[in-house]
Amino acid sequence: MAFLKRSPWILHYDASSCNGCDIEVLACLTPLYDVERFGIINTGNPKHADILLITGGVNSQNRPVVRNLYEQMPEPKVVIAVGACAATGGIFRECYNIAGGIDKVIPVDVYVPGCAARPEQIIDGVVAALGILEEKRERMAGGARMKEEAGETT
């Protein structure tokens, strides 16, 4: 059964956003958008999270942090890049301290365009991510089953 789709917990990290997308991510939690309707909780802890929501492009300081957070999340997990900055660096792309989009550091599954991305767009992004999350889960479960079977035959 796929409970995963009904209970995605997100971890939000600001990898040098201008706050614009950040606060829209937060706005999703608040009464007007209330993503808890979809079982979404904003956990502050990578070990509990299923979805990593990143705003802002990465700079070199943030590189290891982003990677660390990503690694700390248990499988299956997806990454959503929210906003133009997280996708490509956006308006700051040419700044000396911006390396570019999040995909320079970790694999990104969903890009949410916009500057700032609207709460509705972010919700859409999460919904899109759920599909990918479910696929990954099935692959993982399949992998485990295959491993088991392999174990039995040997």
Partner: protein, 286 residues
């Protein structure tokens, strides 16, 4: 035989009921905040999800303690619904919590460590009230056995209003609700991240959640005992108490540990005052 049935029914139904209550709780909370809130069954989805996730640990030992935590919480609840000795149940309950704390210690992570310390402060804060509750019941019903408390015809609440208030106060602590959710909180934004549960994930976190459901049912069971002479009133009282807890959760800020400890101990003092008057009535009158 009856008593074993009680235990079995608890072991099976408590997680279901506990999860449901958690779901209703979240829904009401959301409504109080002007939101729609999650589906009522959300807690089950969450736990189901957790069991689907990969197991991740800092150290393998940590999960062992959580299993022990779950087992002993379930055990103390089962003993309760089997009508056992309330003091013994309380001690089993404490033992369970010590296991939770040990799990957090074992992980050796700064945040779970601080969470563990705070959880211990919580235990220290609520323990006196819980013990006094048992003692209070004894003074009124003449027995430490839950089975006698549950079948009593005395309206216990009339004798123990202070103890009941004390218990209601520490219930906030136990349900991990504001203002006393110091060691870990369902609400994400806490200075100590997720406190005790920081390093637990996947099915282990699910176990903690289930243990919490067991625990809540057990605690509500204690609340019920105050009104046990009339089951209807009892169930209403439990609902009202829980609703009051949700309400308080929604209208208060989280306090520091100092205040949590002080409140817990003051709640106990209230209970003591109640019992002192009662004991004066018993011995003074005799």
């Amino acid at each position: 035989m009856n008593r074993i049935m009680g235990a079995v029914i608890f072991l099976i139904l408590a997680p279901l009921l506990g999860g449901l209550i958690a779901g209703i709780d979240r829904k009401i909370t959301a409504r109080m905040q002007g939101r729609v809130g999650p589906p009522i069954l959300q807690p089950f989805y969450d736990v189901g999800k957790l069991f689907e996730k990969e197991k991740v640990v800092v150290t393998t030992a940590q999960n062992f303690y959580i299993l022990a935590y779950l087992i002993f919480i379930a055990l103390s609840g089962a003993l309760f619904f089997a009508g056992g000795d309330l003091l013994l149940i309380i001690f089993a309950f404490t033992l369970a919590h010590v296991f939770l704390v040990l799990g957090a210690y074992a992980a050796h992570s700064p945040y779970s460590h601080i969470g563990a310390e705070r959880e211990l402060i919580q235990v220290m804060a609520y323990e006196p009230v819980i013990i006094l509750t048992a003692v209070g019941f004894y003074m009124v019903t003449g027995s430490f056995y839950v089975v006698d408390m549950a079948t009593t015809t005395i309206p216990v609440i009339l004798y123990l209003p202070g103890v009941f208030l004390g218990l209601a106060a520490i219930l906030t602590l136990k349900l991990r609700k504001s203002p006393f959710d110091i060691s870990t909180s369902h609400h994400a934004h806490q200075e100590i991240v997720k406190g005790v549960t920081t390093e637990f994930s996947g099915s282990t976190l699910g176990q903690i959640e289930i243990a919490h459901w067991y625990e809540n049912i057990f605690l509500l069971g204690i609340v019920y005992l105050f009104f046990a002479w009339n089951p209807v009133i009892g169930i209403i009282a439990v609902a009202v108490t829980y609703a009051a807890e949700i309400f308080v959760d929604n209208v208060t800020a989280r306090v520091r540990w100092q205040a949590a400890l002080k409140s817990g101990w003051l709640a106990a003092a209230l209970g003591i005052a109640n019992l002192a008057i009662l004991s004066y009535m018993v011995y003074g009158g005799a």
